[in-house]
């Protein structure tokens, strides 16, 4: 091995070890900042943000009676603008009955089955996306605020472990791109820090609104790993970690992303 190669190898090993740990709050950047001017404008204007089509559907569903109990979300929760304010900013949240954190989609289904006595809405269905988008929209502009206690700490740790673990045929860990190499380019796109500030969001690639889990499935397929099923505990643990990692950043739902 030549001296030059040896030095290069040493440099790589050193840098690989040095960059670990969450991004400090002052350096956290939303994927919004990486987008072109026009895409940002699409997100900023409710009149042109396609995600608003789902938010409006969600508003209608909020008021619609459902299930054997024949009640609407509004029957218990009243005006979402007040009752749901701040909710999305603290999800995933610990559910005492299930003894584990649940995400917002699961929380909505817990209400549907438990309170409305209606069948749960399928993951990624238009109805569930619409309701989730409507609820999360009420937290727009508020800082993400995941509070961890003794009950939720093990799940946060599991999510963190998954984020830092190499997986898939490409043997890559999430942290290698999103902690160590954010800001650099991958296949023509700038690597974001991967903060889930705007979910459910309108992804131009999907030409539709989708959940964080859908996006994470794209990531897993991208590194040639087997994606988890929707609602899998591995996913919710990872979502908990990602939201906690983004604490302090503002909710942007419904965001627009390439």
């Amino acid at each position: 091995m030549s001296l030059r190669t040896a030095l290069l190898l040493a440099a790589c090993l050193l840098s690989a070890g040095a960059a670990a740990g969450e991004i400090p709050l002052s350096e956290r950047r939303s994927g919004y900042e990486l987008m072109g001017r026009e895409t940002r404008a699409m997100q900023d204007d409710d009149a042109t943000n396609p995600g608003m089509l789902w938010v409006l559907d969600g508003e209608a569903l909020w008021r619609k009676k459902a299930g054997a109990a024949d009640r609407a979300c509004a029957a218990c929760h009243g005006d979402a603008r007040t009752s749901m304010k701040g909710v999305a900013a603290r999800y995933p949240a610990f559910d005492a009955a299930l003894k584990r954190p649940v995400n917002l989609e699961q929380r909505i289904n817990i209400c549907r089955t438990g309170q409305q006595k209606a069948p749960p809405l399928a993951f990624e269905s238009r109805e569930l996306l619409a309701l989730t988008a409507y609820v999360a929209r009420q937290s727009r502009g508020l800082p993400i605020n995941i509070a961890i206690d003794a009950r939720s700490k093990p799940f946060l740790d599991a999510g963190s472990e998954a984020f830092h673990r190499r997986q898939g045929q490409l043997n890559l860990a999430c942290s290698q791109c999103h902690d160590d190499n954010w800001g650099k380019r991958l296949a023509g796109s700038v690597i974001p820090q991967a903060h889930p500030t705007g979910y459910p969001l309108y992804r131009l690639e999907w030409q539709g609104l989708g959940s964080l889990e859908r996006r994470l499935r794209n990531c897993l397929i991208g590194i040639r790993a087997e994606p988890y099923a929707y609602g899998a505990p591995e996913f919710v643990d990872l979502e908990l970690y990602l939201m906690w990692r983004a604490n302090g950043m503002k909710i942007e739902t419904p965001a627009v992303r390439p």
């Binding site: 072109g36 699409m42 296949a187 023509g188 690639e205 794209n218 390439p258």
Partner: protein, 156 residues
């Protein structure tokens, strides 16, 4: 008279099943360019297409080819005697050349359209304005189209 090339292309097309044909059209670029020219002729007819008066705005480098913001504005007083009758947008490399056509008149106030379009590849987009006096004006813009990094179907 059918040229040898046209005969060979027609025969090849007839022999190959449709699903496979779509993937192996060796003349795709040429065919699409010809379709663009035909669409252009259909709008302009025998008239002359002049550059100017039309302003086509597209981001030079776009985030995703599925949804590209596009704006067209045409300089015109928009009076009863002098106004824009139609605005057409065409592409050279999409499967179909036509993107959108607007039909308007003096009531519009301004001859403009903003929308979002799909662009299949890095290419040039053309906007044509048809005036009430029968004249045609145009503008073109070049766009570079990139692909997202992590897709559901994986890299093609």
């Amino acid at each position: 008279m059918t040229t040898r090339r046209e005969f060979l292309v027609a025969t090849a097309a007839a022999l190959v099943p449709a699903a496979v044909e779509a993937q192996i059209d060796p003349n795709q670029a040429a065919n699409r360019k010809a379709a663009f020219q035909a669409a252009l002729r259909k709008i302009v007819g025998d008239g002359q297409l002049r550059r100017g008066r039309v302003k086509l705005e597209l981001p030079p480098l776009i985030d995703n080819g599925n949804s590209v913001p596009l704006s067209v504005a045409v300089e015109s007083p928009m009076t009863a005697t002098d106004h824009v009758v139609a605005i057409h947008v065409l592409t050279e490399k999409n499967p179909l050349p036509d993107v959108v056509s607007v039909h308007l008149g003096p009531r519009a106030g301004r001859a403009r359209l903003s929308t979002r379009v799909r662009l299949a590849d890095t290419q040039s987009v053309t906007a044509i304005a048809q005036m009430s006096d029968g004249s045609f004006w145009s503008d073109s813009a070049e766009v570079v189209v990139t692909l997202s990094a992590c897709l559901e179907e994986g890299l093609i």
